[in-house]
Amino acid sequence: MQAADKLTFLLSLVPYLIERDRVSVAEAAEHFAVKPELIRDAVRLIAVSGVPGETNTYQSEDLFDIAWDDFEDNDFITLTNQVAIDDSPRFSAREASALIAGLQYLSSLPENADRAAVASLTSKLSRGASAVPSQVAVEGSETDATLALIRESVTRGVQIEFDYRGSVGETERRRVDPLRVESVDADWYLRGWCHLREAVRTFRLDRIENPVVTDEPLSKAATDVQLPDTLFEASPDDLVVTIDVAAAAEQLLGDYIPDGAQRSEKDGRVRTNVRVSHYHGLKRLIASMPGVAYVVDPPEARAVVEEWAAAGAARYR
């Protein structure tokens, strides 16, 4: 934790302890979703903290205190003296606005269509903030009906099945345990355990067709699988391609650039590697960044991209 997070944690833990009278370290740790040791460290610090007081010398009546024996022997916390703090702190303007924007995003999903609940929470967060929350908003747009089916399959604990066109153009029926839904810009992705490939796979929602919620129970739950941070799963069969991209646009390719990729920058252009499962996915990606990114090497990859763009341009003649 950073110092700012630690301070917030201390200021939040005190009112919780005041309210709870006597609480076990384990319960507090579970409530705050932190490791028990973090609770113990914080309690030890709180127990010796306080205000300078009348004498400016931190006398014992000016300090927090806890029932030490119960803490050391039984791992239970009881505050026996409290100073300065009674209640929970307000949210900062930016904290409130982060949660409000998150709520708006959720309310654009079919399963969280309860707009009234979102409006009431937004109002509470605004009133509970120390200043007017800054204006960060996500459009509440209608979204793919597939999302509702994915949610249903998670709630019922069953697999979902759909037709999926890979980037080479072949369509296969996939059965998947849904693990997470992510969106990047306007694009939505389902990440899940694919029973056909027996591996974690990422699917574009707008490429999913004929989705059906099955009766097969899930074999993997979200907590069983460690999802990689990047959107696409690395495979030993991946092809590595050298590209040249405008520095400002490099971030857009973040999910394709492998860890430890070679990278050099000159005159606002970056030369680095991307990994792709085959050149047919690459050609779509590169053709959507004209003048911004191009393939340097290998020649076969350059040829696939050139052919794709040339076929497109030919339609206008």
Binding site: A3, L11, Y16, F91, E139, E142
Partner: protein
């Protein structure tokens, strides 16, 4: 009682925590000298006879950090001696610090807020959400459903987002180079950021130029320099600025219509059919809406031969010239 040894290193969080406690406990405020000489974490390094410039700088930074967390640290001028900085007093008024007692969250609301905090995949919004959750948990309410790993996440890809969001929270003017659609050279703009809004998956900055009343919308993807936050602040105008920005973007989106032909059974056909607002006027011919012609042209160019733009002419030309650029960049 805390250690008196001057060499004992007091952790940052202990110093900050002690500062908040001391300033909450005081009615009339403490002067800087009182704080530095008595509060845990400062007093260990305080020199009664000497120069405390380092310690004063540390206090200035701590004050900023604490305010960033939403703690309302106030400065009160001494009534008898208003111009004297040494006699300024600092305090944290309890009413402005504490969450109002009428605000409470049900277990159901707590569940929803837990999910809302998880939306932000990375970056400052994720850190802000995490801190907000700590404060929420201090109220002792437990969510009625455990947060399941299945939760929608949002990734923000625009490099300009973080600095703009920070400037938005501080009401500070920002400066950046912006590439206007249809222009070859970018131009440096200095604007007052009013709102950050996501429309059709793209982040936009709603802003106004200082001194001007006209408001403009900037697409973050078109900001081509790093964003500089200036030291100049401005007064935020009244009103639901993000709602106004979203409404204006929606109007533009509705107004811009393109007609394209898609290859049946192709990836372009599947995906463009699923775009919001798509109408299939005749088989294989789609009517689509868009907000930024250049960005939409990039998207359509990615489909290569699967898409043929029929109208408008400007979009048709834009897609064609993009495809030709890609051919030229990959030819021998």
């Amino acid at each position: 009682m805390p250690s008196e040894s001057p060499s004992a290193k007091v952790p940052v969080e202990e110093r900050l925590f002690s500062l908040v406690l001391a300033l909450l406990a005081t009615e009339n405020g403490l002067t800087k000298t009182e704080i530095l000489s008595t509060v845990q974490g400062y007093r260990q390094s305080f020199d009664r006879s000497g120069d405390n410039a380092n310690l004063e700088r540390k206090f200035e930074r701590d004050k900023d950090d604490i305010r960033e967390l939403g703690v309302p640290l106030e400065t009160v001028a001494s009534p008898g001696d208003p111009g004297n900085n040494q006699n300024l007093r600092y305090r944290i008024p309890r009413g402005a610090y504490e969450l109002p007692t009428e605000i409470s969250f049900s277990a159901e609301e707590t569940t929803l807020l837990n999910l809302a905090a998880m939306v932000w995949r990375e970056g400052s919004l994720s850190a802000e959400s995490r801190r907000a959750l700590l404060k929420l948990r201090s109220l002792g309410v437990t969510a009625d459903e455990p947060v399941i790993g299945y939760a929608p996440r949002l990734r923000v890809r625009d490099a300009a987002f973080e600095p703009l969001n920070a400037a938005l929270g501080r009401n500070a003017l920002v400066r950046f180079a912006y590439l206007k659609p249809g222009e070859a050279e970018s131009r440096v703009r200095t604007v007052a950021p009013l709102a950050l809004v996501q429309h059709q998956g793209r982040w936009h900055l709603y802003a106004e130029e200082p001194g001007a009343t006209v408001r403009k919308t900037f697409l973050l993807r078109r900001i081509v320099s790093s964003v500089v936050t200036t030291g100049t602040t401005f007064e935020l105008p009244e009103g639901d600025l993000s709602a106004i920005a979203l409404r204006e973007l929606e109007e533009i989106w509705n107004r811009n219509t393109a007609v394209v032909e898609v290859e049946p059974g192709s990836d372009a056909s599947t995906r463009l059919h699923k775009r919001r607002g798509t109408v299939e006027s005749t088989p294989g011919s789609l009517e689509l809406h868009y907000s930024d012609a250049n960005i939409f042209a990039d998207e359509l160019a990615g489909f290569g031969p699967e898409v043929l733009v029929i109208s408008p002419d400007s979009l048709r030309d834009a897609v064609r010239s993009r495809l030709e650029t890609t051919v030229a960049d990959h030819g021998n």
